[in-house]
């Protein structure tokens, strides 16, 4: 059975009220996609739940999900559960009747009834059509089987079910052809490639993304895409699917055949207008609507991709949501005169390795239009803007989208452009973007997915949201495609620092105690506070505890007091409570220590035995050169550690984790020094040490950098003659940053001393969860050098003593709690013990 996305168990989806008791008018929405569901949200936000009895029909059995995130789902970067916008529960909780999986066949506009394919009829007072679009399948020989269905192996890319089918196919297919070199086709191609398929792209136009780009930019994009390993065939149609019972090859109009066992058709979408046609509404390309989204029937409206407004049909989410807002204003009476006057469209490509952002027009249309172009084909960069009457009317950013935030708001709101036009495309001075944020009008739309303005964000900050995360939660900014997150962050920072009510919590170490880290550390020492609950009692307003502060406080207390702190299990995150990394199904992953990535046959044998004994579903080598046993039941953890007989690898903690090494001088032909031994020594010394965020190190035996030392929190590189370079503040995760060279030293012992000194300085001065790649630039490399190398603040001795205190306090946690649980039921399962619909069953 197909899993229902955002589903709920059988039973009612909403409370039904007897018709005779119902005083509300009947609002029926046909279509439960991004437009329909957003419209219902907008109506509810305006108090429409009291005005209307709302019924929503959806073709798909699922709740409402974020269709624009299907590409990341196909790429395996997002889980389908995480793209659910409104679950079935949400409809029930809001008193909305959801008829998911029920198709409306036609409307009887005279009787004001909708007829569903299950034979039921539903009366309406107001009807909103939000039927969206469908994947256009161009006529091709052999594309359909005899029953009219698409041939096995041919997929559209429009729904979660199509995405699931493609994902399933990636397991058995090896070669894919994607038809269509537009946004969706490119995203599909890259996603399929990420599953290891050989992908070829067939595009009927002379260059890629021809709807958005000019020929020159399209040619640069083509080279970037081919550099990713995706073959591109331009200016040619696919005319035939060869195979008979399933796809075996795709035939092109020029006679070539491309071998393939998967064909994805992303050749555009067409509005779903059948219902309008069958019901006698005026339909051209889409269902024709006026400025109030009304069709030619006064009680029937159309919004989203099925609607045609002033001749335009949109295939993007932002216009659909603008439709939803206007229509909700009109129908609820919030603003009966609200009107929609069209959208300015902007799009971004969600493809790793190719950055494209496009808005408005891409070439001048009038004699007086200004055009500014920077083109660096070799670098894959092509930037252009079109300016009319001192307003930005178009921009194309290919290969470098750093200016997209500023340009988007200039485009959306017509904000003044700088005299020096070149600054629209390149950074000429620091701080330009901050000025941009300050200059943005309050109603500038920041999050196009969720329609969140700068004013909304500032309002959330002044309303008490103390972090970017809180603002995002409150406003939903950044909760769509996520591409605006950096702009949201800058606005929040600007709002918190400016004339608006500043959020004092921004400088606090943890949200629940109004103190910056130095003051908090001083107070803890002065008052001899040794447990998290003692800190709350003494220092928190009203003595109240705060869940989100506990983990940071525990870490701080361990650093300050070492073994003399009073542990409290509820002060720890679950990972630290049971010394494993919680996984999405509530099981844990166990990573034994494997210093420097070196192991022995005996250890491997023991790990294998344990994995079999405890039925570990997955054994995986981690990026940090260790072995991860995934899917371990909580109740099995103590016995498993006992059987392993190896120390914890701390793969779960905000702590020092691992030192990755290359082979070094033992076996490598090029190794200049013994990186493996130094890695082992570093890992031995710093094992288990708490820190504001996770710490990863690496040591390499030569500048070939096989263990990626330049992108670690601390990276060590042998440069010959017994000398080692020490880099700090590198990262290669969500952020990528090459570390800064702190010093070149002439012995392994000097590396160990300097690494410890830096670690302790970071532990004492970094904010909670601040990685070294943020910490080092914030403090400044020169200052860190002065403090650690020249002892400019006379604290080096204290730093050395501080790290040594923590080193001395190390005890392998697996040896402790495993034999005697710290609290009753420490390892009792917290997983649901009977299957629940939303819980991945273990």
């Amino acid at each position: 059975m197909t899993a229902i996305l955002g589903g709920r168990p059988g039973g009612v989806t909403s409370l039904q009220v007897d018709d005779e008791l119902e005083t509300r008018s009947r609002l029926v929405v046909v279509g439960n996609g991004m437009a329909g569901a957003r419209f219902v949200e907008e109506v509810l936000e305006r108090g429409g739940g009291e005005q209307f009895r709302i019924t929503v029909f959806g073709d798909e059995p699922h709740g409402n999900y974020n269709r624009i995130m299907l590409s990341p789902v196909l790429a395996g970067e997002e889980h389908e559960d995480d793209i659910v916008l409104n679950s079935h529960d949400w409809y029930a909780d809001n008193g909305v009747v959801l008829r998911a999986g029920t198709r409306i066949e036609r409307i009887d506009t005279a009787a004001k009834l909708v007829h569903a394919d299950d034979g039921t009829t539903t009366p309406y007072d107001h009807l909103v059509l939000a039927t969206g679009s469908y994947s256009f399948i161009p006529p091709m020989t052999g594309v359909r089987a005899d029953d009219g269905e698409l041939l096995p192996g041919v997929h559209g890319f429009r729904t979660i079910d199509e995405t699931r089918a493609m994902l399933a196919a990636t397991g058995s297919c090896t070669r894919a052809v994607v038809m269509g070199g537009g946004l969706l086709g490119l995203e599909a191609a890259r996603a399929l490639q990420s599953h290891g398929l050989h992908v070829e792209l067939v595009h009927a136009a002379p260059y890629l993304m021809n709807m958005q780009l000019d020929a020159e930019a399209g040619a640069i994009l083509e080279r970037s895409v081919e550099a990713l390993g995706i073959a591109v065939h331009l200016d040619v149609f696919a005319t035939e699917v060869i195979g008979g019972d399933r796809v075996r090859a795709v035939g092109l109009a020029d006679g070539r055949q491309i071998e393939a066992d998967l064909l994805v058709v992303a050749a555009g979408v067409r509005p779903n207008t059948d219902i309008g046609v069958r019901s006698g509404l005026e339909v051209e390309r889409g269902i024709v609507v006026d400025d109030q989204l009304r069709t030619d029937d006064p009680d029937v409206y159309a919004i989203g991709e099925c609607a045609q407004h002033r001749g335009e049909v949109y295939g993007l989410v932002a216009p659909a949501w603008e439709h939803a807002k206007v229509l909700a204003d009109v129908l609820t009476g919030t603003d009966p005169d609200a009107e929609y006057h069209g959208s300015r469209t902007a799009t971004k490509l969600k493809v790793a390795g190719v950055d494209v952002a496009v808005m408005g027009i891409n070439t001048p249309e009038r004699d007086e239009d200004e055009l500014l172009v920077i083109s660096e084909p070799k670098r894959g960069v092509h930037l252009s803007v079109v300016i009319r009457d001192d307003k930005l009317v178009g921009a194309t950013l290919l290969g470098d989208t750093r200016k997209v935030a500023f340009l988007t708001q200039a485009f959306d709101r017509g904000t003044p452009l700088p005299e020096e036009r070149i600054t629209l495309l390149v950074h000429l001075s620091d701080g330009a973007e901050e000025v941009g944020v300050a200059d943005m009008p309050a109603d500038s739309q920041v999050c196009n997915c969720n329609g969140v303005s700068k004013g909304d964000i500032c309002g959330a900050v002044s309303g008490g949201c103390g972090s970017v995360g809180e603002v995002m939660e409150r406003t939903r900014a950044g909760k769509g495609c996520g591409s605006c997150t950096s702009l949201v962050k800058r606005i929040v920072e600007w709002a918190a620092d400016g004339d608006l009510a500043e959020d004092p919590a921004a400088s606090w170490y943890v949200p629940g105690i109004p103190m910056a880290k130095p003051a908090l550390m001083a107070a803890i020492r002065e008052r001899d506070l040794r447990s998290v609950s003692a800190v709350f009692a003494a220092l928190a307003p009203g003595g109240k505890d705060d869940a989100k502060s506990k983990m940071g406080l525990t870490s701080l207390l361990k650093m300050i007091w070492g073994t003399d702190h009073l542990p409290e299990k509820d002060g720890e995150f679950i990972n630290d409570r049971v010394h494993g990394n919680i996984q999405r199904d509530g099981t844990f992953s166990v990573v034994p220590q494997m210093k420097g990535g070196v192991t022995t046959p005996a250890q491997l044998r023991r790990i294998a035995d344990v994995a079999e004994k405890y039925e570990v579903p997955m054994v995986k080598v981690t990026g940090g050169q260790r072995i991860d046993l995934l899917g371990v039941r909580k109740e099995d953890l103590p016995a498993m550690w006992d059987d392993l007989g190896m120390p914890s690898g701390y793969a779960y903690g905000k702590s020092f984790r691992t030192v990755k090494t290359c082979v070094g001088s033992d076996f490598c032909r090029f190794g200049l020094d013994d990186s493996t031994q130094l890695g082992i020594d570093l890992e031995t010394r710093f094992q288990g040490i708490e820190s504001p965020a996770k710490i990863k190190m690496a040591v390499v035996g030569c500048p070939r950098n096989c263990a990626e030392a330049y992108v670690k929190d601390v990276g060590v590189v042998a440069v010959g003659s017994g000398r080692w370079e020490v880099y700090i503040g590198g990262a290669a995760g969500a952020s990528v940053r090459q570390g800064d060279l702190l010093a070149t030293v002439d012995s392994p012992q000097a590396v160990i001393t300097l690494a410890g000194r830096f670690l302790q300085y970071y532990r004492e001065n970094a904010n909670w969860l601040e990685r070294t790649y943020d910490f080092v630039p914030r403090i400044g490399l020169e200052k860190i050098k002065a403090v650690l190398l020249e002892d400019s603040e006379s604290i080096v001795a204290d730093l050395d003593a501080g790290i040594q205190r923590s080193i001395d306090a190390y005890v392998d946690p697996w040896g402790q709690d495993g034999r005697r649980p710290a609290t009753p039921g420490q390892f009792r399962p917290s997983l649901p013990l009977i299957p629940l619909p939303k819980v991945p069953v273990r």
Partner: protein, 108 residues
């Protein structure tokens, strides 16, 4: 009121209060429901559905304070006062729970 709104509940004793450490939660199966019971540091008891409505996370493994419970998987937070989420998720279901002669008694 529809039939679906009528719920027959019963009280269930879950064992000694001391079995739930202060500040932590434990999961029980009672009356066909999976219930996570928490003993806060102020001594109060709270009971909720065991699985997070967002993605089924084990709420008993979460962290809590006197106001909210935070799921360990994606840090969605829920208010003890009414079960509503501070972070945009669907609300959690709360169950009446109290201490009777040192025993945890939950109504499900």
């Amino acid at each position: 009121m529809s039939l679906t709104d009528i719920r027959i509940t019963a009280e269930h004793a879950l064992g000694r209060v001391e079995e739930i450490p202060p500040g932590e939660g434990r999961t029980f199966v009672v009356g066909g429901e999976q219930v996570a019971v928490f003993r806060l540091r102020d001594g109060s008891l709270h009971a909720t559905q065991a699985a997070c409505p967002h993605a089924g996370g084990p709420l008993a493994d979460g962290q809590t304070d006197v106001d909210v419970l935070v799921c360990p998987l994606h840090l969605y937070a829920y208010r003890w006062s009414d079960g509503s989420s501070t972070s945009g998720a669907a609300p959690i279901r709360l169950f009446p729970v109290r201490e009777v002669d040192g025993e945890v008694v939950v109504e499900v």
